[in-house]
Structure formats: C-alpha cells, structure tokens
Symmetry: C2
Subunit: 252 residues, 2 copies
DNA sequence: CGAATAGTTGAGCCTGGTCAACAAGAGTGG
DNA sequence: CCACTCTTGTTGACCAGGCTCAACTATTCG
C-alpha cells in the first residue's frame, strides 16, 4: 500500500485544492482567475480535522495562519477575567477565521470546533505577500475583513437595542440564510451549538434562550426539537429580527 | 489678496500633508517611509471641515473614500426600521472611517460630527491601488481593519456580558486611554457626545447613563460636571470595566 | 433674556436573570 | 441491547436591574 505515495498525495491535494472546492465562491478565491487560484493553492497548507471541542487557536496564541472552514462549524469566544464568556461568532463553511489577530499578531479570542470540522490553513505572512501580487486577492481580503466589521456592528445593534425575543429570531434567520447560501435547506437545519453557547452569543441566559425558542414555537414561527429547527414563518420572524444579520456578502 | 494663489495652495497642502501631521503615527502612514508617505499624500484630498451635527456620509451612500479624522470627533450610527439607533463607534483624531463599506461599496452606517471636525478624504480605489505597490501600506490597512474587528468584538462582550455600571466604566476608560494616546490628559477630558449618544452606544437608556455617572461619582471613582469628566480612581474603574476597550493598537 | 435642548432624579413596572427541580438525550460499558 | 451516568434542555417561582414616564433643573443658543 506504500507503493504509490505520489498518487496518494496528488489525490489528497486535488481534494483540498481551492480550484475544485465547492466553497470557492464564498471564500478567499472569489473573483480570482485560474492562475491566481493556483498561486493561492500553493500556499495553503492542507486540511486539518478538528473534533468537537478541540480548539484551533486560543486567546493569546500568536498569529501564524488564517483558517478557512471547509466543513463543520466553529465558535469564537472572548473571555473576561472573572470567567464570563462572550461568543463573538459562529462560523460555517467558507468563512475565514483569525483575521482579528492581524492587528497585534496575537489572537484576541479562542476558536473551538462545535462538531467534527475540516479546516484549511493559510499561512498569514505568505498570504499578505501574495496579496501584493494579486490585486483580486488583496481586494477579496479587504472585503472579507470589511464584511466582518459590518457583521459585528450589526451584532452590536442586536445586543444593544434588540429585546431577547428579537435577538433569538435574528439569530435563527442568520443561520437560515447562511445555510441556504451553502446550498442547504434554509428552512430546516440542526444547530451545532448548545443553548449556553447561544446565550453567550446573544447576551442572554441559557434559560431565556430555551424559553424563547419555546415561545417562538408556540407563536407558530418555528418548530423546535432539541437542536433541530424548522422555520415555519420567515416573514413573521423577519418582522421580529429585522431581517437577520444583514449579510450583504461577498457575492453582492 | 488674490495675487499669491500658488503660495496659499502650497501652505495649505503642507499643513494637510501626512508627513507633517502629528497624527501620522496613529493613522495610515504608520510604518511607511518618507517616499511612501509622499505617495499616500498625493492621493489624499485635502481637508474638509464639518460642523457639529453635519454628516460625512449616510447609511446607503456609496463608498467613494475613506476618511481620517484630523481633529474633533465623530459618531457612527446604525439604524433599525422602527427608528431604534445603535451608535457603533465614537471616533477621535487619527482614526479611519468608512472601512465597513468596502464589502458592499455602500456605507452600512452614518457618520456624524459631534463637534467641529476636520477630515482628510482618501479616495478608496486609489488607496487600494497604492496598497498593491506599497507593502507597508497594505499591511497597515489590514492592521487597522483587524483592529476595528477586535474592538467591535470587545464591544460585543461589553454589550453582551457587562452590567450597566461596568459598561459605563469601560467606556470612560476607553476615552481616557484614547485621549492619553493623543497626548492629552487622560485623567480629565470633555465628552463630545450627549447622554443619549452614550446610551445608544452602551445599549442603555440615557437616564441610566446619567444615574450611573452620578453613582460612579458618589463612589469616588470619577468626578462629573456635565460633559467634563475627571478620573479619580483608575484602578477601581478598571476593576469594574475590565481595563477599558482593549486597544492593543497600531503602535503595539 | 427667553426658548429649546440636555441632564438629573424619582416612582413604579417589566423583562430577563437566578435558583431549582425535573426531563430528555447522548455517551459508555457490561 | 440495555442500564447507568452525565450532559443538555425545559419549565417554574421569584427577584432585581434597568426601562419608562414624569417632573424638575441646568445649559446652550439664538
């Protein structure tokens, strides 16, 4: 079985290559031509698989690479001295992690897999160098960072000005839209995070999240069965949650 | 008086030039050498002065330029359909506005002057082009955007997990630190925004902000006289507000 | 100087947090 | 495959932080 290593490597690298990745229109390669994607490909270190609960990096780690999610999901969390947690984001395939570390070369948050998750590792300094040579890549990188800023600011509004029920509705809509963009059913999905995680994301107690999911179900807007969510009335949900996280994203 | 236009223009452009700007170590020019700063200078459109209440751009405006604050202060605000407001940031000299618009080429928030404010306008597409040629500029741009993401995520923690008194303390510390970085007295400063603005930033009612400023004064941590704030006990304030907005900033 | 805006303080209420008990899944080993 | 345990989720009772409404005071601005 050790007689065809070249073939094995080649198959592996094709599988992981950006140019054959179904996510390339959602990820860094967006807008790049074949040659540029190949250049990007050369720089990407091959896949890494994390199991549920494993961390990709921790608060304070120095920045070595950015990470793109191929499959699965992650959460990023910030921490206060007294142990209070804020989930700063849930991340789905095609999304880029670690960009908040560029400023200080240290990660200001930790990233943990919510389920078995596959990751592409993109050495950061090489990426920056390549971005100088590939205008489309620089642009896409700036766009992704700008999108993250706009998303976070939308989240500031969610936390600062929305009532608890609105926050939960907004969050569900966001998941729904992001699932749909991945080509999945936006009306039915499974949450990969706990009620606690949702509460730490939405600035609510886990009991409140649970109660509000129940209430939204009673109101006929959704159906809940543990972590399985079915959207029953998108319109009513939107009138509560303000259209979800606005995500005038990379494809706009 | 119209007989020396050349001289007048020249003086004006020297005054506005990045290379002679006291803020260059806090702004885009950080880390650039003389030649690169000059290239950046050529691209910057000259100063514009906004009076209190004037807007630099509004939600939905298309992105033409980024803006650096030379003097004064601004707030950026997001809006919900029903009129609820979230202040997404207060901005002091040396800070860059508009980077959240890169993603969609449209500003997702409005920017309004809190007092008489001077602005440098940096045409965005020209800046992106220049960043391809000047590695230090690309890096600084990425850093500034990364810093904004880290700041916003810190703010998510403030809104999601801090009690009202902690939020106010954290906000005051942040102002204090940013004033100090501008070479001003970090222990005594004048707020340029109303209690309403602070509330819209911190996710609180304006009455709550007012009450908590009074309470912090009673507790001996600060002195308040209208918009004049004196920090009396930084340590106690930090133990409340968690060290202010972490701002391991551009100079790190 | 008067009007309008901004800030302070009080009273009462309500949303969402805390504490607690229980139920339902998920993972493990016999 | 089932029993046991541990984790996760649900629901209730009660409490309190912060919001709303309101009256009053202090500034700012014309």
């Amino acid at each position: 079985m050790a007689d065809t290593p070249a073939t094995v490597i080649s198959i592996a690298s094709i599988k992981a290559a950006c140019r054959s990745c179904t996510l390339k229109e959602l990820c860094l390669p967006l807008g790049l031509d074949e040659a540029d994607i190949n250049a990007l490909d050369r720089l990407i270190r091959r896949r890494q698989t994390l199991k549920k609960g494993q961390t990709l990096y921790r608060l304070g780690d120095s920045l070595r690479a950015l990470y793109a999610i191929r499959q699965g999901s992650m959460k990023t969390t910030g921490l206060m001295e007294d142990g209070r947690v804020q989930v700063t984001g849930f991340h789905l395939p095609g999304e880029l992690l670690g960009i908040d570390a560029i400023n200080t070369d240290q990660h200001p948050c930790s990233a943990e897999a919510l389920e078995t998750t596959e990751i592409c590792e993109i050495p950061y300094h090489a990426l920056e160098d390549l971005a100088l040579k590939v205008p489309g890549l620089q642009h896409q990188l700036l766009r992704i960072m700008s999108r993250e800023i706009a998303r976070d600011q939308q989240m500031l509004m969610t936390l600062g000005r929305m009532a608890a029920e609105e926050r939960v509705a907004s969050c569900l809509l966001s998941f729904s839209q992001r699932h749909a963009r991945l080509g999945r059913d936006g009306a039915h999905f499974k949450l990969s995070m706990s009620r606690q995680d949702l509460g730490d994301y939405l600035g609510l107690a886990l009991e409140t999240v649970s109660r509000l999911l129940s209430r939204l179900q009673e109101e006929g807007l959704i159906e809940v069965s543990g972590r399985h969510i079915t959207i029953r009335n998108v319109h009513a949900l939107k009138s509560l949650g303000g259209g979800g996280e606005m995500d005038r994203s990379a494809s706009g």
